[in-house]
Symmetry: C2
Subunit: 429 residues, 2 copies
Amino acid sequence: MTLEANNPNKKSWLPVSKNSDFPIQNIPFGVFLTKDDIITIGTRIGNYAIDLSALHQLGYFDGISLTDDIFLQDTLNHFISDGRKAWRAVRSRISEVFDAENPNLKNNTSQREVVLFAMEEVEMQLPVLIGDYTDFYSSKEHATNVGTMFRDPENALMPNWLHLPVGYHGRSSTIVPSGTPVRRPMGQTLPKGADKPIFGQSKRVDFELEMAFITTDANVMGEPVSVDEAEEYIFGMVLFNDWSARDIQKWEYVPLGPFLAKSFASSISPWIVTLDALEPFRVESPEQNPQPLPYLQQTGSHSFDINLAVEIAPEDETPTTISKSNFKYMYWTMAQQLAHHTINGCKVNSGDMMGSGTISGPTPDSYGSMLELSWQGTEPIKMGNGTERTFIEDNDTVIMKGYCEKEGFRIGFGEVSSKLLPALKSELT
Amino acid sequence: MTLEANNPNKKSWLPVSKNSDFPIQNIPFGVFLTKDDIITIGTRIGNYAIDLSALHQLGYFDGISLTDDIFLQDTLNHFISDGRKAWRAVRSRISEVFDAENPNLKNNTSQREVVLFAMEEVEMQLPVLIGDYTDFYSSKEHATNVGTMFRDPENALMPNWLHLPVGYHGRSSTIVPSGTPVRRPMGQTLPKGADKPIFGQSKRVDFELEMAFITTDANVMGEPVSVDEAEEYIFGMVLFNDWSARDIQKWEYVPLGPFLAKSFASSISPWIVTLDALEPFRVESPEQNPQPLPYLQQTGSHSFDINLAVEIAPEDETPTTISKSNFKYMYWTMAQQLAHHTINGCKVNSGDMMGSGTISGPTPDSYGSMLELSWQGTEPIKMGNGTERTFIEDNDTVIMKGYCEKEGFRIGFGEVSSKLLPALKSELT
């Protein structure tokens, strides 16, 4: 399928630097707050945030079936509910309005003043009200590494892992946008060799390099979504840092899975890049052996070639890149995850978020967590300033970046960046 | 603390039968749809649904700080956000308006016509928009039974169980009110002795007898709620049937916990009974040994004596009571659950729901699931019509009831009743 908005030769009349994640072919969706305290839905080209509610009011979306206030919202949920046809029409129209060949808005100074904001002038918000958040565990390399460390290297993968995309329900209320600081959690841990837990701050705070997709209303309760239709219900993707407290996790997670070790925070990049914009970067996912059950079988290219990197910046220092991975390593595709999630009739709504699970590549420099990079703290990672890290330290900022690139043409996600604050002082011991 | 609304001698001018769950001392909150397709927040006395938005418009809540549309909502979330002082003032005023001694509304026929509906004339809705749903696992008897069956009778409880209220995140999107049918789920299971899973309908659909509490906004992200303050943030309770597919659960749940085995449906009773109304039925919870860590320590009475029963009604047949249990058996209290949930800084919002976990008593006739009642299907349960059950069969209706009673005075929850529909026919095998 070819979308004119994806034409790599198209240029915008807005300036876009060579390595920008946001050329006119991207057109992501997000929510921002202006200096005048107005919240609006917007998109981004180069370093400009574009107010879509202003564009709509000026008539630039005439002819597309949209309610008057569809962009005057503090979340994208209603727009996402409008479905793929609407997303595509809006993205296509934005592409036309900002095309270098189109003089209409370009030459209208007063209109440009209400539509365009420098990125420095706006504050990005959480783009969706997340009804339910699910986290999968779909990187074979990550599951193998964790199984090797915590269980048995000879049987690192659990018996179910190759037959279904293992996942669990996560906490929606603590998903925050890039830039929101995260506090080191307190909790119970079991010291090595002890028979009773202690209370205190987590000493093993970790990131998890993930991506997440955001869905539209996909089904009615009781009816599954087929794997072939699943991509129709995926609006787009973001970078996702699934903050984890490994010591809390180890003590709490048997038998019902991770709980407080993950629910203190997850951070996302604020611009949702649509599946349409990622279309030119489709690749096949790894071969699946054994072949999955029919409801999970797919042919064709259902993964995406997205370069990922993780950096750590100690306070007031320049960041050090500590991992480079790629979304294409994922064993299970997003369509398989969504088909599996609904095979029991579970209802999926507009604004639901589904995380990939930690994305680890095949080599040690492509692992997606400190747990793996430092191999449970036994192999410290060197930082540019000469210090070492086994887990994340107070006031470190963790930055994740992601972009697709092909023949000099780049579509990116920007970044998700969040600082770890020291734990609250507490009287409780 | 004594609340006048709880005075057991008070009578209403509305008729209330002797065994009603809804005397004037209850005053639960819910959302209902009238025959004229109007959705409103309401309460219930006897067999009357009472439209609180109509009462508010008529001035009956004058003097209480409430927005004009607080009851003209399709969920209770905003009212719950108003906090305990507002809930208490509204409940107290309703108690006055319907007091047998108060002639105002009683003698005003035209006002009564817009305020009162026979329960048969209204359709109860989901009372809250559930942001996040958490399920705990806080009955020692249940955890011991499950541990004995699935793991090791000598070490039935996991090492963490006595130190923290084990819990996990559940799926909000499929929580439905009493009366909504539930479809038998499809999914993957591993047949006994097989080395590969098969796809098909679950053959072990089960209920779980639980109660759930609904919270108000309790904290800001990063800050815990103390165990002593926790009850301030609990609005009230409902009956909760956590539908479960045991065969799907067994195959999928290691290592991240239950997922599709639980997310196809959970059913709740539609009236939220406030903690204030339950006040006269406070009891101490079971002694905790070992003593928990300080952030979980409590003194006083923090559980409630709530009689619970489960019935199964085969299609067109009368129900058979198959279990009688009590909320007071819970090892961990709601306040401990909420304190633990937020100890890592996890944010709790208005409308969040937290399930108790299956409530099993000490004797086999008080177990809270078919898994335990039929001991994994090995000891079938006799039904009144001569048939037997090991798990739930197609077109069975599962009914849960709950009430407190003391010196002839009763506060109840009504029921949660839901029919299991046959699985969808599927081409997928």
